[in-house]
Symmetry: C2
Subunit: 525 residues, 2 copies
């Protein structure tokens, strides 16, 4: 397969005529061929029309067909082979190992959602049978199932060019729910986007699905992305990116005549709490693990450990020394885009220049667009003084907040905004203190983890990659793991619908063999 720079609207591929742009080699900043034509409003309209037209057909397809379609997307992505890996490496500056790993995760996610679709719990089937003899009034027959919410707009993320982009978690979970998807490609990896988009397009055709199930748009500005969120045919939005970008989309969605849910995963500094006993017992080990996590993928993870909290003292200073020692050996790494690199440099510069901040150390110097890891320290008082030190610096930079005592330690925790993750490093002697902290930590984060770091997000059933604002726009949800499908579903109740008209999953005989809850009892298999 080769890249053409074309929009993928349903089964068509044609060149957008609203300006053009090219991918850039992340390492050198040089432009890459081909040029990508930007979508215009007519293209957006066509994609939305097709999605709307496809919706009822697609969501009514047998679960097995939907599952096979998801698996087919996975196979088609793998079939792209090295062309995909190499283009993706070029566009993102990420290593072959990372891209291949991410491809594995992407394919794994698609297959996980295929299993979720087959298993059928997501339908949340509930049956309250009729009781015609009930007094004083007979009871009607009520049957509930979840149905797809409607066409979904997905915004590709720059930092996961495969796993959170065109065929990433948002797309996989929306397609699994029965929703057509229109992806607005991230301009940082257009070639990767087109290749993956064509893989989906082929799977749509192979499985005989209505073409509007998938479209891919390139946007030379912001009008297409904003137009998508504002379009009345779009019923939900998936987004991973900056807080500014996410909030802008939330506002567009809230201002629509019919407001719709936006699932934006935005901003998190992922505090790491070093408890006193653990810090004393194994500070140096923790410091080395911390630097590995901090510098992984040039720190370009939503779950990157951007903040360390501990009570000041010799143990913390030893931790700092060990961390600096490890950091100073850390090679600089190419960042995803020159823009992200620029922001990272500004962010670290801002910390370096801050009167209350001490620069503890930095990583090795690198090439022009490479990020040099950096570690800073500040006092709890300075940290609490304003929001300046609580903002995410996207990349391999972290800030240690030295607290004078336990009260101050708790005060800093209470002042934190919503987070994706909070990590605790603890020993058994710390348990009593941790027990007291857990209620607050649960209220602040979607995932609480022990003796590890938030990077390395397991794609499973018990994962929550979400959290209170500003970590995400909707703390009731996760964007990673099987629970992500719930974002694109809504319940519908059927009262006294004749058996001949019932959807199969609601039929008495349970021909689809889905889990069901009868009269509120436990779920029957």
């Amino acid at each position: 397969m080769s890249m053409t720079g074309q929009l993928l609207i349903g089964q068509r591929a044609y060149r957008g005529e609203n300006g053009e742009f090219r991918g850039l080699d992340a390492a050198t900043g040089q432009t890459l061929e081909p040029a990508f034509g930007g979508a215009g409003l007519a293209d957006l309209d066509r994609a939305c029309s097709l999605a709307e037209a496809a919706f009822d057909d697609y969501r009514a397809r047998p679960l097995e067909q939907r599952a096979a379609f998801l698996e087919s997307i996975a196979s088609h992505i793998l079939a792209l082979g090295d062309e995909l890996v190499e283009r993706c490496m070029q566009e993102t500056g990420l290593s072959r190992g990372r891209i291949e790993g991410e491809r594995g995760r992407t394919v794994g996610q698609l297959r996980l959602f295929a299993e979720v679709v087959r298993q059928g719990s997501f339908l949340n089937v509930r049956i309250d049978p009729a009781q015609p003899d009930r007094k004083p009034l007979p009871k009607v027959d009520l049957r509930l199932r979840n149905i797809a919410i409607g066409p979904v707009a997905v915004f590709g993320a720059s930092n996961f060019p495969l796993a959170f982009s065109v065929a990433g978690g948002d797309t996989a979970s929306a397609l699994a729910a029965g929703c057509p998807v229109i992806v607005k490609a991230h301009s940082a990896h257009p070639g990767t986007s087109e290749l993956v988009g064509r893989a989906i397009q082929q799977a749509v055709s192979l499985h005989g699905l209505p073409e509007g199930v998938f479209s891919l748009l390139f946007d030379t500005g912001r009008s297409i992305g904003q137009g998508l969120v504002g379009d009345s045919r779009i019923k939900a939005v998936g987004f991973t990116g900056s807080r500014t970008g996410g909030v802008a989309l939330m506002n567009i969605a809230a201002d629509r005549e019919e407001p719709i849910p936006v699932y934006a995963e935005m901003s998190s500094i992922n505090p790491v709490l070093l408890l006193p006993h653990a810090l004393r017992e194994r500070g140096a080990v923790m410091a080395n693990e911390f630097v590995v996590s901090l510098t992984l993928g040039a720190g370009q993870f939503c779950t990157n450990p951007g903040l360390i909290l501990a009570i000041d003292g010799p143990a913390l200073r030893l931790f700092e020394e060990a961390a600096v020692e490890a950091l100073e050996k850390a090679a600089a790494q190419t960042m995803l885009t020159t823009g992200i690199h620029g922001s990272y440099c500004q962010g670290t510069e801002r910390l370096r220049a801050h009167a209350g901040v001490e620069t503890l150390g930095q990583g090795l110097e690198g090439e022009r667009y490479q990020a040099r890891a950096a570690l800073f320290a500040t006092s709890a008082v300075a940290f609490l003084q304003g929001l300046a030190l609580r903002e995410e610096v996207f990349g391999p930079a972290s800030l240690i907040v030295r607290c004078n005592n336990e009260a101050q330690f708790k005060q800093v925790i209470s002042a934190l905004e919503g987070q994706l993750t909070i990590a605790l490093h603890i020993s058994e002697a710390d348990y009593p203190q941790v027990r007291g902290l857990l209620p607050t930590l649960e209220n602040k984060a979607g995932r609480v983890l022990v003796n590890g770091f938030g990077t390395g997000v397991e794609v499973g059933h018990a994962m929550v990659h979400g959290g209170p604002f500003p970590a995400t726009s909707d703390t009731r949800t996760t964007s990673v793991g099987s629970l992500a499908i719930k974002r694109f579903l809504r319940p519908v109740s059927y009262q006294d619908l004749p058996a001949a008209l019932l959807p199969l999953e609601l039929a008495d005989a349970n021909p689809l063999d889905v889990p069901r809850q009868i009269n509120g009892g436990r779920v029957h298999d």
Copy 2:
């Protein structure tokens, strides 16, 4: 117990000093004693502080205690006896039978949620055990549960002074989820509100719960309600009322520094579709049932049948005649408030004066604040011309839309906004046509019902009282039935948390005996 006109803030009761108002006798418009003192911003702040302080304590209480508390509220409401019934009748103009029935529903809801709490499915426990030997990377231990979202603001509804007011469905489901609740009383039934509020206050004390679990505020204007939604300590909002009111709260919530979910149940005209064969076979019977539903409780239900759709012809005209005949015998009924009565009169006047609308008939004339039922007809063309004929007229008025043919019938359905319910009246010969309509109806409404009317909302497990905007603000949810608890929960994932620190519902041995999903398999009891 006697009414005092006091605010109930935690376990305190004292008089609000921000103005005062009195309840009105709905039938006569005369003021009732006592006067109720309005809350000021300091009272609001106190209630929010107490709720915040109570939150972690309350949500950590054993499930059995939470369930018993809900049941205790039910008992305390019943113990209010006739004082509650009589005050409620006076304030709302509703009949004794209706109020006693609604009290039964309110108590039933509280007991249902007690069962939901005990059963434990709402926790959505998921466990993905560790796999230390997995290659290439070991798998961490992940355990997920739902926790309460935080303190909830509930706005009492005028049309359900018990079942959707102080101890109604929103309050019951929020308390069941583990959330403290602050109720803003509806000014149409302050005495009813105080009596029920005191019943909750007693239950809080009896069960040794932190006092901030419940507070009740009276508001002489809008500042307290708006202030509640804007307060950073409030994490979700439950509201039943007008579209204007709901949208105003949605906007406040979206504009907060930390946006929060608003569950507003607002506006629905609940279309009733009369399919051709059914109409021919039993039009007269349907017409009589329709008038019963239309005039039930003076038409003051969110699910009142405000729109009838059918293809024009002799069968429809016979239906109309039968409906008018029944309607002309329908007694006028006192409305909930003079304001609602005034709006109803304006709404029916507007229809009567509309050039494209024919007045088919009306009910018997009544007293000053009583609503006279009314039935109108229009053409599909006139209906489609603008939004004027699609607005809800709250009360016993309905509009028949006569379609020329099936195409026009479908066109009108497609033009409908989101609804709580859509009812179908069908015979077996109509099934093929219905099969074609169902996908559209599912997309438009939270509940699709056959050969009945939306009034009479069964409180069960398979009920959805929700629907696309403007029926509600959040189509993913229901405000009636056990599923309503989900609105006040968020998932949290725990990674590698030592057994000694795990919440009981996540412990290996399952000491709470809650349903759990292990490795994404079916739920194990």
